[in-house]
């Protein structure tokens, strides 16, 4: 990608060579003409002029912003992304541009960078117009699903559903995350579309109507009727029932899931959690052990196992598991609080204190992840006509 940017910069500079060498046309004149062309919707002319402008003065951040926006509006995402990168490099407060850059990278299938830039955008306060926030949040969530961060993804999507209401796209996205499918809407098997749609509708209505699960249950029922033997369907049903407070029924669904797919770590962890609540520690420790064996790199698995050991009054083993969980997910606030408890029981007071402090700090940091609560309408990807950030 660095190569691509450099090439573009060279190409832009080369294309501007004639203007640059022409003393009759000043940068200011080009900037004025570019602005006039843009406001008159003469897009191609504006692109040409802004390209000349940034060629003459590469530090002209407004020029990069407008150029990126114009390319973005033409769905020319490779060029738009390159311009937003330059904007980020030259602007004082480029925050919303991270979202645009993430969107461009999503479209050019540079997913890892896209996710990275969405995270940067979120970390800097989710800036931008409400339309930009909606579309970026949505794509951010899609990439979290792709990475297997289903809970984070569902959290963002549920927030969107509550703000914008149901839409087919949100339902599809929630379906993928609910069924723990590490896929994007454009790359999952066609024959699974109905299953995703049913799960997604169920999840959407659970988020929309948290006091009335009739519609969520209706779709979940249809899902179970047609896809009873498909992995993660019972897991989803169990999650929904747990959300509804029907713990016994939820447990049945998790157990059914485990019968169907014995290596389902998510179901193992849910059941270990249920066992912990009900003080069935013998089974809990078995489930947690299996989960860790199946996915040694899964922080949640070590975390749950650590909690089980804590409940079994085995603080030494608990601390060992929780340290592993911390190593994998250093930002996991609750891991740190449980680790503090384990250290406390071991008499390692200073370390316990340090972990509690980390827990408090991370708790605050986690709140940064909460997107702004402003009301926004559903929409297509934004037309980036708003003015540039500073």
């Amino acid at each position: 990608m660095v190569v691509a940017i450099s090439l573009l910069a060279v190409a832009l500079a080369a294309s501007n060579a004639s203007s640059a060498g022409n003393p009759r046309i000043s940068f200011d004149q080009i900037a004025q003409q570019a602005e006039a062309a843009r406001t008159a919707d003469r897009t191609n002319e504006a692109i040409k002029l802004y390209s000349e402008g940034v060629g003459l003065q590469p530090s002209w951040s407004k020029g990069w912003w407008e150029l990126g926006s114009l390319y973005y509006d033409q769905d020319r995402f490779a060029e738009a992304g390159a311009s937003f990168r330059r904007f980020i490099a030259t602007a004082r407060k480029p925050d919303p541009a991270y979202a645009f850059l993430g969107l461009c990278e999503y479209e050019t299938m540079d997913y890892d960078r896209s996710l990275q830039h969405f995270r940067m955008w979120a970390g800097r306060g989710w800036g931008g117009t409400s339309e930009l926030i909606d579309v970026s949040l949505f794509h951010f969530a899609l990439l979290l699903t792709r990475q297997g961060k289903f809970v984070e993804s569902l959290y963002l999507l549920a927030t969107e559903v509550q703000r914008r209401g149901r839409s087919p796209a949100l339902a599809e996205a929630m379906g993928l995350a609910s069924l723990r499918m590490k896929n994007l809407p454009e790359d999952y098997p066609a024959e699974e579309r109905e299953m995703v749609w049913l799960a997604g509708n169920s999840a959407v209505f659970a988020a929309l109507e948290p006091n009335d699960f009739a519609r969520a249950d209706e779709y979940a029922h249809r899902l179970l009727v047609h896809y009873e033997h498909t992995p993660n369907v019972h897991y989803y049903a169990g999650t929904l029932l747990g959300f509804e407070g029907k713990k016994d029924e939820a447990e049945k669904q998790f157990r059914r899931e485990l019968e169907l797919s014995q290596q389902n770590v998510a179901a193992l962890l849910e059941l270990a959690g249920v066992d912990l609540e009900q003080d069935r520690l013998g089974e809990a420790v078995e489930f947690a052990k299996r989960a860790v064996e199946l996915e040694p790199g899964n922080a949640d698995a070590h975390h749950v196992r650590g909690r089980v050991f804590l409940a079994m009054d085995q603080p030494q083993q608990s601390a060992k598991e929780l340290e592993l969980a911390k190593q994998i997910a250093p930002d996991g606030a609750t891991i740190r609080s449980h680790l503090a408890m384990a250290y406390d029981r071991l008499g390692r007071k200073d370390e316990a204190k340090a972990e509690m402090a980390a827990f408090t700090a991370l708790k605050t940091k986690e709140e940064v992840f909460v997107p702004p609560g402003e009301k926004t309408k559903a929409g297509k990807p934004p037309r980036s006509t708003s003015g540039p950030p500073e």
Partner: protein, 376 residues
């Protein structure tokens, strides 16, 4: 219909191209020597005409590197790439093409179809709708493909009624009904799937629904009834099946239609359409007390649905609550200002309420909607 690949011939004929581009072909003057461009572009055209697709693609790319705004080259290259199922590459070329020349509907059409193939469905539908609005140059085969893709996508985005209308238009225009059976069945059953996404075990049911819709459109009511009742027998627990049969029966034997609608609601309690059809029937039968809760529930389930406000307005007016009825009908009018039935409802309600100015305005609007040309 040209749904898959092998569209090159059709599309090449659809957009007139220069056989051998002149040195001054479209695009700004470029410092590159014209002879180079002319030589390469002519080689591209020759390769395309001789069916040497690999060579043609290579030469077109070379020519476009020399003259990036060569529109004819972009068009030919995109059709070649589409034909070679390189849809993402075709899409990227077409995005540049329509940015240079947004007028031809054909450009938007092929862009939409490329995006369909890359599963960028939202943009695909936007661009196919734009193509339909701008016109497809009288190219029947192209139009058939575009309409097919658009209807399939409208359905996937849960715009079932629009999908159904478009499919029926296609049937009426004489298009072969075979390929339309599954899209029609999906729209009828309100399943937001593409035909390629239909699970194997649900195919027969969806085909049956499509065949029934086709029979109904052809006024073969007996055949339609056999199919609808057959669906109910074979798939009694599938959502949408009783609704379809019920909707058919309400026009023929209303009592049986009501029974089927109730079965549908037992099976899928959140079905808004079934509630509305049932409420509508009760209004016809002057059973407003039965209609009212159904219409109210429909709005609770889907507050943005215009027809729900229309039916509730009709129910309230029928019960004599003119003020509340008018409020609902006005909401319905906001949602669907082109729906003449709502305007008639309002005309009658305003008249009953003594609001003669409002009634007069509705009457004028109805005339405009009924005779759009005379109104201009």
């Amino acid at each position: 219909m040209i749904i898959g690949a092998s569209i090159l011939m059709v599309w090449s004929m659809a957009m007139p191209l220069q056989a051998a581009p002149a040195a001054h072909a479209s695009g700004p003057t470029h410092p590159e020597a014209p002879s180079n461009f002319t030589r390469v572009s002519q080689a591209a055209v020759r390769a395309r005409e001789e069916g040497r697709q690999e060579d043609a693609v290579r030469f077109y790319k070379q020519a476009l590197a020399l003259r990036p705004n060569w529109k004819e080259g972009m068009w030919s290259l995109s059709t070649l790439l589409y034909d070679k199922t390189q849809y993402a590459d075709a899409r990227d070329v077409l995005r540049r093409f329509v940015a240079l020349d947004p007028d031809p509907g054909l450009g938007w059409a092929l862009l939409g179809m490329s995006e369909f193939q890359t599963r960028d469905y939202s943009r695909a539908l936007d661009h196919l709708e734009r193509a339909m609005a701008q016109g497809l140059g009288g190219q029947k085969e192209v139009a058939q493909s575009v309409f097919y893709f658009a209807a399939a996508l409208l359905n996937r985005f849960e715009r079932f009624d629009e999908s159904m209308s478009l499919l029926i238009e296609m049937v009426k225009s004489g298009q072969a009904a075979g390929p339309l059976t599954e899209p029609l069945g999906l729209a009828a059953l309100r399943l937001p799937l593409l035909p390629s996404e239909i699970p194997a075990d649900r195919k027969p049911m969806i085909r049956m629904a499509g065949q029934a819709a086709l029979a109904l459109e052809a006024q073969h009511r007996d055949e339609a009834e056999v199919l609808f009742s057959g669906m109910v027998t074979e798939y009694p627990n599938e959502p949408g099946v009783h609704f379809l049969y019920g909707a058919f029966l309400l026009d023929v034997r209303p009592e049986d239609g009501v029974r089927e609608m109730k079965k549908e609601l037992d099976l899928s309690p959140s079905n808004v359409s079934a509630r509305l059809r049932l409420a509508e029937q009760y209004v016809k039968e002057q059973q407003s007390d039965l209609a009212l809760p159904l219409a109210q529930e429909a709005i609770q389930l889907d507050p943005k649905r215009g027809p729900a406000h229309m039916i509730l307005g009709e129910v309230l007016v029928a019960k004599g609550d003119l003020a509340a009825g008018i409020r609902e009908l006005e909401t319905a009018r906001e949602e669907a200002p082109q729906t003449v039935r709502i305007r008639w409802d309002l005309l009658r309600a305003y008249t009953s309420a003594g609001r003669s100015e409002d009634a007069k305005r509705e009457k004028e609007d109805i005339e405009k909607l009924s005779n759009p040309e005379r109104a201009q």
